[in-house]
Symmetry: C2
Subunit: 227 residues, 2 copies
Amino acid sequence: MPRRQRSNPLALAVLAVLSERPMHPYEMAATMRSRGHDESIRLNYGSLYSTVDGLTRRGLIAPVETERDGRRPERTVYAVTDDGRTEVTDWLAELLGTSTKEYPQFEAGLALMGVLPPDRVVALLRERADALDLESLRLESIVTAATDNGVPPVFLVEIDYERALVDADLAFTRRLADDLERAAIGGVDEWRSFHESGGVVPVGDPNQERSDVPSEAVVEAEEGVAR
Amino acid sequence: MPRRQRSNPLALAVLAVLSERPMHPYEMAATMRSRGHDESIRLNYGSLYSTVDGLTRRGLIAPVETERDGRRPERTVYAVTDDGRTEVTDWLAELLGTSTKEYPQFEAGLALMGVLPPDRVVALLRERADALDLESLRLESIVTAATDNGVPPVFLVEIDYERALVDADLAFTRRLADDLERAAIGGVDEWRSFHESGGVVPVGDPNQERSDVPSEAVVEAEEGVAR
DNA sequence: ATTCGGATACTCTGAGTCGAGTATCTCGGC
DNA sequence: GCCGAGATACTCGACTCAGAGTATCCGAAT
């Protein structure tokens, strides 16, 4: 059994458009773009073609014809198979019915922010908040424009979703910046004094170095995390 | 100039731990895990070792010694270089100071949900909401446990962040399920009747097929999106 | 008449990703 | 004193991904 892999949503999008009618890859891309799905699903040609290959290998889609127009490159039209039809609904049910852990970049930044001094972090968070504000407005204008064009709101829920997340992110980011500034979170003072008194952990004998660290409590606490 | 690529946060985490002191890859992994960073940054051995290779190639870290313990595999200890030190702070500033577009799986699901009938979607969204509820509790208990263990709250902000997003996601998901059920969003009735009267788009001549589609308005509207 | 941007339609390559696999050592329980 | 579970430390290979590159065609403006 060829190990199923539902990691790449682009494959699901391919199955979905092919459920409507057979197409060649380039047309799939054009269709997705015209529906704004490229806003929610990462789409670029390299991935598209290899995704289509993968789906073909797994028997979820199959080429139905290849046509050539003048001296242009050949176009291969694909159709979804019965297995493919089953897969679309199963996969979609999985996406809509469960929550999968994701790893946003910003979360990594938060986990490692101790490397920078707190004042710097506060300034950066404020910048980020402004960027998120713009992003929220951008999303709003997409919805407004589409609605004015007669697109029924059901087709825009993925944008609403993104906006809800951006707004939550914005609120969190602003709040964190404020809390760090006012040192309203435990450990900020130690973090600050660590950076003010040297900051860079010296490289050398690990054992020596441990006792060189200014704010021992912080390091120990961080290392002692038992989750 | 070797094109910099800051796509993989694991590389940043490697630079960050090596900023503290030189280590061999396996120890880096153990350190990250002990700090709970594997909750925020995707970590597995395959990626770790190739990430370390990449950083070495780009001159951001360098091997300082290789030691062997009995007949065990050799351990190569790496240290961060000056370029590496610059890179950590620059990269971190980028992560904390800007927002990068991400593509959550669920958003893809929302964009394609039209493939399933609305009632099915409502049921699935309810399931997802329950899962998110559990996830929120899990995150809360992580914070509680760590705090009880004496970890200063500053080291837990990335969990707070995740929790804020999960809660926003939960609120959105529940709200959407309700709205779809009550058809409080424009286009749901058309969607429903489309599925009740056949549902599957026939495969065949594209031109014919277009006029076969029961709810023409829906399809046209979706295709007419101009964003 | 010509040219030049943009659309059409893929192809190539190098790099990254991930899980499973390998082999050794350690330590506690019986 | 031996056995198995878990920790230590990495390796391998199949697959995926991104984005630049290639080649052709069309239409509108020069």
